[in-house]
Structures are given as C-alpha cells and as structure tokens.
Amino acid sequence: MTTRVLMEGISKRFDAVHALTGVNLTLHPGEVHTIAGENGSGKSTLLKILAGVLKPDAGSIAIDGTAVEFPDIRAAINHGVTMVSQELSLVPHLGVAENVFLGHNQTRNAFGIDWKDTDRRSLEILKRLNLSVNPRAEVSSLPQHEQQLVEIARALASQTKVLLLDEPTSSLAPAEVEALFNVVRQLRDDGVSIVMISHRMSEMLAISDRFTVLRDSKFIDTSTRNGVDENWLIDRMVLNKPKAATKRVKSDEPQRVVMEVKSLSDFAGSFENISFNIHEGEIVGLAGLAGAGRTELVETIVGAYSRRSGEVFINGKKIGHNTRSTMNSGIALVPDDRRLKSTIHEMSVRDNLLLAVHGRPAKNRSRKKEEKIVNSWVDKFSIKVKNLDSPISALSGGNQQKVVIARCLVSKPKVLILDEATRGIDLGAKAEIYEILRALAREGLAILVVSSEITEIFEISDRVLVMHAGELTADLDRSTIKESDVVSAATGVLV
C-alpha cells in the first residue's frame, strides 16, 4: 500500500508539559484511521500539527513522499489536509454555498462573484455528502449535523486528500452518526484518508480500518482492524486500568435519614413540589434528561436560589436559605460546570481548595494551618500539581475537579451533592473519583450524584431518583432496578 502521510518523531511541548514525544503516524489513501487515547494523551495536538494549527518542536511530515512544512492552516489546506474541528467554524449568517467556498477559488464574472456557478458547484459537492439543502439557505438555519456536513463540504471544495475529524460525533444523535459514517465510508472509497478522534468505543470499532493508540503523549501501538477489540484498546489506552468496581456492602440495619427535602419548589418553575430523603452512608443517583430541573433543584437546596415553597432538613433540623448557612448545616455542592461555577481561574490551587474555609473577614489566615489542610488533600486525592501557588487553570480537568471536591470536603459536610462531577474527565480520573465517593460513603457521608450518564448512575448508586420536566418521577432501589425503568421515567413514559 502507498503512503499518503508520514509523520515521524513528532514532538511538541507547552512550557513544561510534553504534549507529544516522538510520535509517528502513517496514513494510507482510502482508509479511516482512528487515533485513540485518553484525554491529555496528545491526540488533539497531533491532529492540530497535521492541520497546521500548531507547529511541532521536532519531527517531520511528508505527504505523498515529499517533505512538507505547515507554517499555518492555509499551507496545510494547500497540501490537501483539512481539519473539521469540534467547534464548527462556519459563518452562521452566510449561505451554505458561501460557506462551502469561503476563502476558496470562487469563479468570477464581470460583476464579481459568479453566484450561479458557485451554487452549481456546491450542489455537486453536497450531493456527494447526501445533503439536499438549498445552497442559498442560511447556515444557522440548518440543524447541527447538517452544518457539520457543510463544513466537510468546504473541505471537499479544496480538493482535500486528508480529512481530520476531531470528535465529529460528540453532538450527534445515533441516526445522524450513522448518516455521517456513510459519508465517511463513501469518501474513503473515493480515496480520501480520514483521521478521526472519538471517545465512543463502539463508534471507533464500527468505522475504523486502522488504529493508532497514544498514551501520556507517546506513541503506543498501531494496528489494522483485525484483532482489535475493546479490550485491545483499553489495554493500550490506560496504564493502570481502573480497578474492578468494588461494590459496597450495604449493612442491613436501617440507616438514619440525614437530609430530607420537603415539597420544594423554586420561583423559576424549574421544578415543582420535590420531596425525597437521603440516608447516612448512602449514594443516591439523580437521573434525568438535560433540562429536567436537576441542576436547579440542587442549587436551590444549597441556597444559591431562593425557594418559593418547601423546606430542607438536616438531621431533622430546618436549614437556612443562603449558601453559607446551608454549608454550615452540612451540605456541600460540586457544581455541574467547572469553568462557570466552581473554579476561580486566576486564583491559586491553594486558595481554590480553601475557598469554602471562612473566618471573620478581618482575620489573619494562618499559613501554617492552611498548608497542612491543602497538603493532606493533595496527598489523599493524589492531585497532580507542581506548584500550589500556580493558577488552577494550569491543572488538567480531572485534577481541577479533585480540588473542587476537596474544597467541599474541607468543611466536613454531612451531605455531598455532585452535579455531573465526571463530565469531561478522562477514564482514569473518573474511576479515581468513584473510588473516593465509595470510601466517603463507607465513612457515613450521604451522597447525591446528579448525572446524565446512565452507566455512571448504575456504577455507583444504591438508590436512583429520576426527574422529568421538573417532577420526581421515580424512586428506585438498586436491587430491583432495570436500566429501562430509569430511561422510561426520565423520558416521561409511565413506569
């Protein structure tokens, strides 16, 4: 087989962090090549280097046997390499055809751009992608998956030989994924080399002809489809495979109720009349679809928003209305959006971890005592941080989240609420967080886990609550629960 792209010894680092160390990648014409690896393994960096977004510190790139250098994206496109990134880069208020030929060689007539010819040529390309839209339609009026195809059409308009797809399926529904894969297969049969990054194991296995695995910024292995299965990939992607989930032994004696929520409603009407309770040492999952009111519910419980009606009790005592008093009563929340709601980006790791430690405003903070608290949590959660005084934004997502969880635990809560706590965190860190939660539950902490991932809910809950459209639609015990019960309760189908 001939080689279309040969990347050899590619290295790249950002300050002290090695993003890639001596990575090789070979692409043949007419293949779908998946780059697999955990978050932070260097996949995106490799793609960005091939697309001319980043410049490598070392290594060479050859296309069809000739050495090339890409000082910018334009140079890569001229050599037939185009990237379709996660965040689509279309101009929303321009037409489809205009977007397809944005920055390309549009034909001109005496009056400027020849729109008829542009329309005709974009229709040809769109047809290859099985996309039937009006080329004059505004791009923003198309659904997400069609916009993605328009972006691929733009790549085809520049005669692309190598198409890089960075998590193309992350926001697509199953049927749309299938449609996209049909297009990808057809392009492959036309001789285009396609490189893909995906986090969904089943998709990788369904579409790829070849795999390259990266781990810790290094090249690990490459193989054709034959002989590759889920285990083959996981073995190579994860160094320390997450330990098999140790199921918690639930003691038989009835546990004390720690938190009781009684007919709670909020002013915005995001949820109505919610009642439930959580016992000591229990992990309760709160499932539901996006927009079911789960985030609003937990943020109201901790006092970020005012209640319209209802009460919250901790150990039988009514608790207050603002975030400080609920915290003092023993409720802590790990919010769902780390960037928007958890971290103070410019603030040091140390101060972020200690953010929920309060004292009289004018009180001098004791550095020694703080140092001890911070170090103990950094050890306990094995948070990877070089300098505690560097801003928290320098840490990886998983480590930032551990800092936020530690922040919640410093105040020794009785109830810990986690809202989508493992979103955007790689597998290893996810497993570590589950292990931390189980250990905390064993010590008697009551835990409420809000999650949209059913597998996560099943992985760690003793009991599952389900919300649909602002109402609690199910309260299911772990021992009898079926996945289908959760799904039907979450989608509003009667159980």
Partner: protein
C-alpha cells in the same frame, strides 16, 4: 528538550514590572536632562501631588478587583472638603475631621454599597450617578465659590506638611498601602474580594457572602475618598466644588497601568501605587521640560493604550501555552 538560556518568563513577572522599569528609565532620563528635577523640593512635590490620587487609587483597586468600579471618587473628594468646611466651624478640628470622614463614608458608601452590593445594580451606572449627585450638591451648597479653611497643624500635616523630614501625605500613603496589602493578601476578606471578581457565582456557591463583600469595597472606596478629601483641604487650605473634576479617570488609568484588570479578580495595590506614581512623574517631568499641560493628557492616553496593549501581549504570550494545555491536557 534543551533550554539555552534561563530568563524569567514574561508571565512570571508581576504585571506592574514594566511600569516600574519605565519609571526608573524616566527618572534616569530626567536626571540627565534636568538636574533641577532631582532637587529635594521637586521630589517632595511629586510625592505630595501623587498622594491624593494614590489614596483614591487604592480604594478604586478594591472596587475594580470585584469587577466593579467607583467613578464617584473625584466628586466625593470635593464633597468632603465642603462638609469639612461646614463642620470645622462648629467643633474642634480633630473632631471635625473624624466626623467628616465618618459622615461621608456612611452617606457615599451607603448609597453606592447598598445599590451595587445589595441590589446588584451596575457599578458603572450607579457611581456615574453619584458622581453627578455629589458634584452637584457641592456646587449647590457653596454656590460655586471656594471657601478658604484655617486648617491648623493636623489637617495641614495630613495633606501637605512634614513629620520631621518626611512629608505627611507620604506617611499616609505608606500607612494605607500597608494595611490594604495586608487586607488583600492575608485576610479572608481579601481572598473573598479576589474570588468575587474572579467568578462571582463560584464564590457564592463556596459560601462567600458576595453582596457583603461588594458592599464593603464601596465603603472602603468612600472612606479613602473622604480621607483624600481631607488631605486635599490640607494641601490647598481651602475647599472648592471644582476640586477633583475628572480625577476619577486619571485614577482608573493609574490602577489599570498598575496591572489591575478591569474584568476583576487580578491586580495589586503595589501596582496601583507604582502606576499612579508613574503618571505623576510623567506629568511633573513634562512640566519641568516646559511641555504644555495639554500634552500631558495626550501622553496619559497613549500610555494607557500602550499599557493595555502590553498586558494583552503578556496574556497572549503566557496564554499560548496555557491555551494549548487546556485544549490538550484538560480538554473538557
């Protein structure tokens, strides 16, 4: 990978470092051009004339750190003088000073703090309103005239006189700076100020009383504006409704020159002191060189633009690697 030279990276230096270098270069240049610049009287003149803007700037730093702003400080400066001129005829001077500062702090801090901190209204709009209100009241009360005040030794020392060989206003600046640096770096309140400016909702979820923090910074700003007002009276031996018109913008410029970010959460008192000292040195140097005072405004504007530009370059330069890390290591 090998590193040829180990220089401190641009991102590891404090934001005010560039201004400090410029200040030193300016001092050296002036020493060569105009020997009179380094005369004792001129240096103490720079110190004296920068004291009031620096005190206002320290208050401004607190409000900007919470992602707010206090545009009323120039008007409050004048308003304080008028209040003092009224009270000083009825009671001993020391009592009049204390009463004036307390009264102005309560009124101005109360209004700005309540509306911005408690009700969550926009700081720019609210303090633009108080700017007009207190300037207007000052004109109304005095009918636009200047009142001369027999200040006595206390007020005079605060604003103009010497304590031994050291200018009184210099001591006030040192004292206020040290307390403010301590408050921001070593107390829970200081931590909360940075947290509110950095990410208000996150601060709230972490149990910080965000509205109380915001209210407090407007009280601090009002208090320091009142203190500066008394110092100004000490310097001029008079109270005038026109004092400090437009000064708030010079103060904001100095604070931003010192590396405090208008979007909140990043900044320092040290930067503010250096930034305003620099602006004052520039204006003094231009005056000594015989450059028209109209040019001084142009120079200030250019400096501010340049400072913001350099800060942007600094962020991009240090952020390029950070952004790379984010998209590769901490991809969300």
């Amino acid at each position: 990978m090998k590193r040829v030279m180990k220089l401190p990276t641009v991102s590891s230096l404090p934001a005010w470092f560039g201004i400090l270098v410029l200040e030193i270069m300016l001092l050296i240049a002036m020493a060569i051009l105009q020997p009179v610049f380094f005369s004792g009287s001129n240096l103490s003149n720079i110190v004296r004339s920068s004291a009031v803007p620096i005190i206002l700037g320290i208050g401004m730093t607190f409000t900007i750190l919470t992602a707010g702003i206090d545009l009323s400080v120039g008007s409050v400066l004048a308003f304080t003088g008028i209040v003092l001129s009224g009270l000083i005829t009825h009671m001993p001077r020391a009592a009049a000073v204390i009463a004036t500062i307390a009264l102005v702090t309560l009124i101005v801090g109360g209004i700005n703090g309540f509306l911005i901190g408690k009700l969550g209204l926009n700081s720019f709009v609210i303090t633009l309103g108080s700017l007009g209100i207190f300037r207007g009241i000052s004109y109304l009360v005095t009918n636009g005239t200047t009142r001369s005040i027999d200040t006595g030794p206390l007020i005079n020392t605060l604003g103009d006189g010497n304590v031994g060989p050291i200018p009184g206003p210099f001591l006030v600046v040192i004292f206020v700076s040290i307390i403010s640096i301590y408050a921001l770096k070593s107390t829970y309140f200081g931590r909360d100020v940075f947290a509110v400016g950095g990410n208000e909702f996150a601060a709230k979820l972490a149990g910080i009383f965000t509205s109380r923090v915001k209210m407090t910074v407007y009280f601090i700003s009002a208090f320091l504006a009142a203190l500066a007002g008394v110092m100004q009276v000490g310097r001029l031996q008079a109270a005038s409704p026109t004092i400090g018109a437009g000064l708030e913008l010079t103060v904001v410029a100095g604070v931003l020159l010192g590396g405090t970010r208008l979007s909140g959460g990043v900044g320092s008192i040290t930067g503010t002191v250096i930034g305003l000292l620099f602006l004052q040195t520039v204006s003094n140097s231009l005056t000594i060189q015989g450059v028209s005072s109209y040019w001084q405004q142009v120079v200030t504007g250019v400096l501010l633009g340049a400072a913001v530009l350099f800060d942007r370059i600094r962020i991009v330069y240090s952020g390029r690697s950070k952004r790379g890390e984010e998209s590769n290591v901490t991809k969300e």
